[in-house]
């Protein structure tokens, strides 16, 4: 009976507790940020706790642990952390354990001395906490920043300061193979989304104290950490200064991917050609750093930016250097040819078959003419139709679920291709041309370049269809003039072809053997460009004259 009455009473009491309106309702984001930045911590623990809870809106993942420090003093201490972002073992053993354990009990002498609260705070920071890194802060803003980045924050009653302790541990991907830049030979690890892991991967390749990192916080809401890396003494100081300036002047609310940063700091925003390299491979970044470039690592994305870059960098794969020079040179040449083909093959086909049939051997001309006999469309319409359908296929293919991917691709290739030809919509020669172009366009290891060039073929087809090879040449001339006018952080885009720097040709047109690559690019490194001694060519040992 009494129990029933109690339960009734509790239910009545609960009804009275209507949900209160949360604080900060109706206030805009920038006002909130300003408000938070203006607050400082106070001595009273309860007030600090209320401030933090208010700023975080009492989010459900905010975890509080109230402790008492000292057997005799029993000072209230509060440890806060965000659930899911910390490693509980470290938190327990490094932070909470020592505070509660015997080592924290003050000796008779010390408690007799009646240390002040701030001295006790210092004691806790320097002698009791076991974490590898401890920061002290007095502002609410910094405290919250530490908190949301996965640190544990400790507040002591009577002290208007807080300690942020390193206990990070959250779920994330392991270091795996690169997804977009697979190499046949060479290191198979790629950057992941954790900035610290990425910088570590770089340090593992370049174990030099002259590899310097600088941090920036970008994004008013995301507060994304961006790190720039360079090798001091090799890199031009003006370049580092320029990168620093450009990144610090970004005023945006969110940065999710390095692509956002790329678009905000690049030199030629309207150009179809990228002026900043984006890569997943640590070895590529390390090689670039050793050439005097600067790397920009963004937290939350495995793609690292490298500046400044030239056109040549987009046609280079890391394994050009891991294979021997003969393979490297030939493959590089093939890549350049494929790049050119990806741009001009469909337009050249249209131009030659429409305007300049005399360029083809007679039998080929007759064969193509026979194929085009039943096709109702003009060559340019046919070419555009096929190219557009290929683009549709490519874009859709990226999002196909893995289960039905192979089935759809067979459908697309066999049925669509074959059927279109049999139906007389397109000629088979054109199907071959489109397929060859597609294959050639994926030869550039960097996606942003290959896709831009691939898309430029559409205006070229239009030019070819109206003006023949003259149109193609004018299109190429327009692209050339555009490329000549682009600079990437001060370095002309087409270096070392234009302005011609012959000393750099040994790594551009061909790839000379490792023992001949003795200089760094002059356009990037002005001070130290001899990189290895000249007598490196391996030689067989001297022959003995007699046995």
């Amino acid at each position: 009976m009494v129990l029933l009455l109690e339960r009734l009473w509790q239910r009545l009491r609960r009804k009275k507790e209507t949900p209160q309106p949360r604080d900060f309702d109706g206030v805009s984001l920038s006002e909130l940020l300003e408000f938070i930045q203006s607050q400082d911590l106070v001595s009273d623990l309860k007030e600090n706790e209320a401030m933090i809870k208010q700023a975080l809106g009492d989010s459900s993942d905010l975890t509080l642990r109230h402790l008492r420090f000292g057997r005799e003093l029993q000072i209230p201490v509060l440890v806060l952390h965000i659930d899911g972002m910390v490693d509980s073992e470290t938190l327990m053993n490094g932070l909470i354990g020592p505070i509660l354990g015997k080592s924290s009990w003050l000796s008779e002498e010390e408690s007799g001395q009646r240390l002040s609260r701030s001295e006790l705070f210092l004691l806790m920071k320097e002698q009791i906490l076991r974490n590898s890194s401890v920061h002290e802060t007095a502002s609410l803003d910094e405290l919250l920043d530490y908190l949301v980045r996965g640190n544990a924050v400790l507040l002591m009653d009577g002290v208007p300061k807080a300690l942020a302790c390193e206990v990070k541990g959250w779920a994330e991907r392991n270091v795996q193979q690169p997804t977009t830049e697979v190499a046949v030979r060479g290191p198979q690890n790629a950057f992941i989304e954790n900035r610290r892991v990425n910088t570590t991967l770089l340090r593992r390749i370049i174990a030099s104290p002259l590899l310097w990192f600088e941090d920036f916080k970008v994004g008013a809401v995301t507060n994304t950490m961006v790190t720039i890396a360079y090798i001091k003494g090799l890199v031009e100081d003006s370049l580092v200064e320029e990168v620093r300036e450009r990144i610090s002047s970004i005023e945006i609310d969110a940065i999710f991917e390095s692509g956002h940063i790329e678009e905000l700091i690049e030199d030629a925003p309207y150009s179809p050609f990228p002026t900043i390299l984006r890569t997943e491979r640590p070895d590529k970044v390390a090689a670039a750093l050793l050439e005097g470039r600067v790397a920009i690592i963004t937290d939350g994305t495995p793609y690292v930016l490298v500046v400044p870059v030239t056109f040549q960098s987009f046609l280079t794969a890391a394994e050009d250097y891991y294979e021997r020079f003969f393979t490297g040179s030939v493959v590089r040449f093939i890549r350049a040819v494929a790049f050119f083909l990806a741009l001009t093959l469909p337009s050249t086909y249209v131009a030659v078959t429409n305007f300049h049939q005399e360029l083809l051997p007679t039998s080929l001309t007759l064969s193509i003419a026979a194929q085009r006999e039943g096709v109702p469309f003009v060559a340019i319409v046919e070419a555009l139709f096929l190219e557009v359908s290929f683009e549709l296929l490519r874009e859709a293919g990226i999002r196909l679920p893995k289960a039905i991917g192979p089935a759809i691709s067979i459908v697309g290739a066999l049925i669509l291709g074959e059927a279109a030809v049999s139906a007389g919509l397109v000629s088979s020669a054109l199907v071959i041309v489109v397929a060859a172009t597609a294959i050639a366009s994926f030869i550039s290891p960097i996606y942003s370049m290959s896709i831009s060039v691939h898309l430029l073929r559409f205006p070229m087809i239009l030019l070819a269809g109206t003006l023949g090879l003259f149109g193609v040449m004018m299109g190429l001339a327009a692209i050339l003039i555009h490329l000549c006018s682009v600079r990437s952080f001060g370095v002309p885009y087409l270096t070392p072809l234009a302005p011609a720097v012959p000393s750099e040709w040994k790594d551009t047109v061909v790839r000379v053997p490792m023992w001949k690559m003795d200089t760094r690019p002059k356009s990037l490194v002005k001070k130290e460009f001899i990189r290895q001694s000249p007598r490196q060519r391996p030689q067989p040992p001297e022959q003995e004259d007699t046995e």
Binding site: L359, P361, F470, M473
Partner: protein
């Protein structure tokens, strides 16, 4: 006054620009130098005219050394005073515009006459001029870099069409030398000399060289290289075509047409043609840029970028209006038409400027004043 042109070009780029300027029209129109009677001896005429040009090149370099950092338009105002200087500048600007128009006309006409006769001429001229104005607008450095890339391509194709037709060459075609006496050869060399005067555009480029003391070496290299290539070209044309060369309109085109190689490489004349169009575009842009710079310097303008499209339009209209047929364009530099005027506009003016500069310098030093302006 703001800097009009901030670009700097390297020695290689200078040679690329100047040689392309000289070679292109040569390949497409000469060496028949239509209207002269030199016939197969025209290579002698060209050789003579190359060496005739050399002293004038030294003169231009000297002028550039006396007035470092200034183009010919600027120091002509210094030497001859504001009014005569401006007059001379105006003459030079008109000359540059004319050269630009000539370049684009010959290139465009090459297409209309040979491979695409149904397309109206203005289409080719308009497209080439639009690209050229865009390039000139972007400044000297962009133009120099483009030339840096176009130059090896053009040279490679030139060597190709000089070497491949040797199979059909007949050495007897070069004989007899001077069958009609030396007078036709000297006339032809004078016409060629008149065209060589277009190298006065070098004086517009000297102030923007990376290393000014290289100017002498670069200028001489340009003239010798261009002259040499031109001479070899005329020899090959004479060898391959013999007495028929007098009736060729576009000898280079005909040369590439005569290439037969296995069963596949034949009728390939389109490929050299389109490559030369690029080179002709460079020539057109060089003169367009020189005219823009000249106008800006003559009238003390603050920047020259905005002049690109209007002056380009002027060049396009000149190219249509000045020459009614292709033959007018090709015969432009013969003694019968513009030849003597060209000599006046380039060589005589240079001589006058040089003498004027010398007089000024001696006057100033005799008056005991310090350095010249």
């Amino acid at each position: 006054m703001a800097v009009l042109e901030g670009g700097r070009i390297s020695g290689k780029q200078f040679i690329a620009l100047a040689v392309l300027t000289r070679i292109l029209a040569a390949l497409l129109e000469a060496p028949t130098i239509s209207g002269t009677n030199a016939g197969h001896d025209v290579w002698i005429a060209i050789l003579i005219s190359t060496f005739l040009t050399l002293p004038w090149v030294f003169l231009w370099v000297q002028l550039a050394k006396m007035y470092p950092g200034k183009t010919i338009i600027q120091y002509s105002m210094d030497i001859l005073g504001p009014w005569f200087g401006r007059l001379v500048g105006l003459v030079l600007i008109v000359y540059f515009l004319q050269q630009s128009a000539h370049a684009v006309r010959v290139a465009a006409d090459a297409y209309v006459t040979t491979i695409m006769p149904e397309t109206p001429l203005i289409v080719f001229i308009a497209i080439m001029t639009a690209l050229s104005s865009n390039c000139a607008r972007s400044g000297l450095e962009v133009l120099a870099r483009a030339a840096d890339i176009v130059f090896p391509l053009v040279m490679f194709l030139l060597v190709l069409i000089l070497v491949l037709p040797i199979g059909t060459a007949d050495p007897l075609n070069l004989l007899p030398v001077a069958a009609y006496g030396w007078q036709p050869i000297f006339e032809a060399s004078l016409s060629s000399f008149a065209i060589f005067g277009e190298l006065i555009v070098m004086t517009m480029l000297f102030p923007y060289l990376d290393e000014a003391k290289e100017a002498n070496r670069l200028a001489v290299t340009t003239v010798l290289l261009a002259g040499f290539l031109f001479t070899v070209f005329s020899i090959v044309v004479a060898l391959v075509f013999g007495p028929a060369m007098g009736s060729l309109i576009f000898p280079a085109f005909s040369l590439s047409r005569s290439i037969e190689f296995a069963f596949v490489v034949e009728r390939v004349e389109v490929i050299p043609l389109v490559a030369w169009t690029l080179g002709a575009g460079v020539k057109q842009t060089v003169f367009l840029w020189a005219a823009m710079l000249g106008i800006a310097q003559l009238f003390n303008l603050s920047e020259m970028k905005s002049l690109a499209y209007p002056v380009g339009a002027l060049v396009a209209s000149f190219s249509v209006w000045l020459f009614s047929t292709i033959f007018d364009a090709l015969q432009f530099y013969t003694a019968a038409e513009f030849g003597p005027l060209a000599i006046i506009a380039t060589y005589v003016i240079s001589l006058v400027l040089y003498i004027g500069a010398l007089i000024r310098r001696s006057v100033r030093s005799s008056r005991g004043e310090e350095a010249r302006p």
